[in-house]
């Protein structure tokens, strides 16, 4: 069992970049910036085409990539004796750092985790009190104190500006839903995927689920003609 390592498809710009490097089988120390930039932008375009808000972080990386690309195009000064740093280091360094900590995160996930792999005495049997609950009952944390105050304020001043985070949707569940929806059907319109979705976060979950299914090779997404409606179908149906 993996520890939810593939829940989010692309966590952030670095994650997407690493993915592109991997599928292109590129050496991280010698990234073909032009190719990668192109693919990176294609991905962003895809997101936009699907009306998904592209996080600012992705855009910042896009401009960084384009900047590096333009630097790489500059003709090398013949007479330059001074060693100029490879402009790609600007992304290679954070990428390497990111890989390092991602590895650390992965190692954490493979430890004998309490309530997943090992159990202490007297864990609750009714299933309702999972870890979350347990974690909160130990002692009062500072978080709880802050939370308590927020709740009071909200009760007293219902109109106070509060940022409600929309319900969190499970990408896994969405994946199951999509697969169920496709069952027995030849294809399915992409836009219909979201017809029942009631919030932005649900839509994002649906979309992430779709990306994950694509990545797993469970479904393919296609258009009959350029600019046509996007449809999906399971790979099985195609065979």
């Amino acid at each position: 069992m993996t520890f939810e390592t593939r829940l989010e498809v692309f966590e952030g710009p670095l994650d997407l970049l690493l993915h592109l490097i991997k599928i292109n089988e590129i050496d991280i120390s010698d990234i073909p910036v032009a190719t990668i930039t192109e693919q990176y932008l294609e991905y962003l375009d895809l997101l936009r085409a699907l009306d998904i808000n592209v996080a600012g972080d992705f855009l910042v990386m896009a401009s960084t990539l384009m900047h590096i690309k333009s630097k790489m195009l500059l003709p090398k000064q013949e007479g330059d004796v001074e060693e100029i740093e490879d402009p790609r280091m600007e992304i290679v360094r954070p990428l390497m750092e990111y890989m390092q900590l991602r590895e650390a995160a992965h190692e954490l996930a493979t430890r004998d985790i309490l309530y997943r792999d090992v159990f202490k005495r007297g864990s609750e049997t009714d299933g309702k009190r999972g870890v979350e609950e347990d974690i909160n009952t130990a002692e009062v944390s500072l978080y709880e104190l802050m939370d308590a105050f927020k709740k009071v304020m909200k009760r007293r001043y219902p109109g106070i500006v509060l940022r409600f985070r929309a319900e969190t949707w499970s990408v896994k569940k969405k994946m199951v839903e999509i697969m169920k929806g496709l069952k027995g059907k030849e294809h399915f319109y992409f836009r219909d995927l979201f017809s029942g979705n009631t919030s932005i976060s649900e839509m994002i979950a649906t979309f992430l689920a779709l990306l994950d299914l694509m990545k797993n090779g469970a479904i393919i997404v296609f258009q009959d003609k350029v600019g046509g409606d996007i449809k999906l179908k399971t790979l099985k149906a195609e065979a």
């Binding site: 709740k151 009071v152 304020m153």
Partner: protein, 179 residues
Amino acid sequence: MSNSLKLIIESLLFAASEPLAPRQIHALLPGNDLKEIKDVLQELKNEYEGMKRSFTIKEVAKGYQFRTLPRYRPYISRMLSTTPTRLSRAALETLAIIAYKQPAIRQEVERLRGVDVGGILRVLLKKGLIRIVGRKRLPGRPIIYGTTGRFLEFFDLKDLSSLPTLKEIEELGVGEEEP
């Protein structure tokens, strides 16, 4: 009798918070028959009795449960009585208001919470989390409350300025309603 079945059942008894009946265990291990499970439970019980440890397996409430022996009660109850106290939700809210609004008077806290907080203030005073700072120059000279050094210790804060501001709480999206 398979040793692995015995250890599986033992692990279940160990991790359960309530006594486990043979039937419940059977439901979890349908591959083994009830009779066998009952025998294993009995064997485990006998085994622990013979091991002379500080705990054993007892048959209680139609089930089996790990329990410490009565003679260790004094030590265990001493331990349980010293574990950190959990604050009620009401106490936590009151404490939070005092922490953020201090110096605060009772009326202010009650205005925000919408209920009487006399009893809770006493609890917090007793726990040493709040203290009386003085009296306000207002009719009735109401008592002013503030947090204590123990409060900082309790929440592992270096000083009061380390208390996150409301804006910072907002930025974390704290205060989200439970689903």
